[in-house]
Symmetry: C2
Subunit: 205 residues, 2 copies
């Protein structure tokens, strides 16, 4: 299954500004190895000293970010993905993007092989409209239909489950927002794997 998501508004430039934080002295190796294992040829990529930005179609932006994090988790080190997915910013430029690509996801098959428990959270920010809280609540409900444990925390919604399912849930929410007609959507997420800390899930709903 190359693309499990139903997209129709896939011609807008999506992007993710993210970083992967490996809590180890070998943090450089963890990141460079993950970058080697993931095919980023369908997204525009720029890495600086404060993070990496990928831009392209929604499907490829999620395919690449999911794959990079899942590969990094397989080192066994405590690693955290922190990212901001964005689409439709009126201040965005048209450049720095590959939109001519087809929808075949280059890393889906490899990502599907990785089973990794993660703990994460996400927040959704639909900009520019007054009805944004209902859009957020709808997507929290949508997330509960995924194969993920969803609970409430301050300023975010907590997600626990398999890493693939968490990223797939985030992608589905982001695609749903495009269907909702939201002109400018921002979604932030933090996803942690191999933490030595005990899980702290506040609620079981």
């Amino acid at each position: 299954m190359n693309n499990p998501f139903h997209t129709c508004h896939n011609s807008r430039i999506a992007g993710c500004d993210f970083a992967i934080y490996p809590m180890t002295d070998h943090f450089v190796d963890v990141i460079t190895t993950a970058l080697k294992e993931v095919d980023t040829s369908k997204v525009w990529v720029k890495t600086t000293d404060i993070g990496t930005c990928v831009r392209g179609k929604i499907t490829h932006v999620f395919d690449v970010t999911k794959a990079l994090f899942l590969h990094a988790t397989q080192t066994g080190y405590h690693v955290v993905f922190s990212g901001t997915y964005s689409i439709g910013c009126p201040g965005d430029s048209d450049g720095d993007v590959f939109l001519a690509e087809d929808d075949r996801r280059l890393n889906e098959a490899e990502s599907n092989k990785i089973k990794q428990e993660v703990a994460g959270k996400f927040s959704l920010y639909p900009l520019g409209g007054g009805d944004y809280m209902n859009l957020i609540y709808d997507q929290i409900e949508a997330m509960k239909k995924q194969n993920i444990r969803v609970s409430s925390i301050h300023y975010a919604t907590r997600l626990d489950g398999d890493g693939k399912d968490v990223f797939n849930g985030l992608e589905q929410v982001f695609v749903n927002m495009e269907h909702s007609g939201s002109s400018h959507t921002v979604m932030t997420t933090t996803i942690s794997a191999n933490s030595p800390s005990k899980k702290d899930v506040n609620s079981d709903d």
Copy 2:
């Protein structure tokens, strides 16, 4: 100088959901040491396996988050602060907060002793209104009046300078947003210190 910021709307509950990522095998020590060195008694604090949430008056939320990061940088390890500051969320609860405190900042004197070059970025999300882009542009201009190098990157605004100045700039922007009448403001930031990567500043404006 205990509180360099002019606040008038300081009765609303502000909060920051953040984590500090030390890229070292000793990551637990770095975080527990910073927590011991910082006085968090004027904010409500909760730490879980996916991060820490502090809630209270704006001034104390910034005092504590700034101090925690600056202390962590002094270990010399590559450390990154990633946080979401928030105020006025209609879905927020009234609980889990200390608002009865005075405005004296408990960690300002110690933070002022720390000189640390950092590289960071921030994004501002004023929710619920159509004129949000102008609010954002105004605050990017306001940031340029701080003692910080400010440049444009995709999805965020890059900040380079001394750690204190960067946090003070972020606090001033957050306070400015309260003065602007924004009902619900979210500000995300990532701030990095001691990175082995070469600085990558795109522009010098």
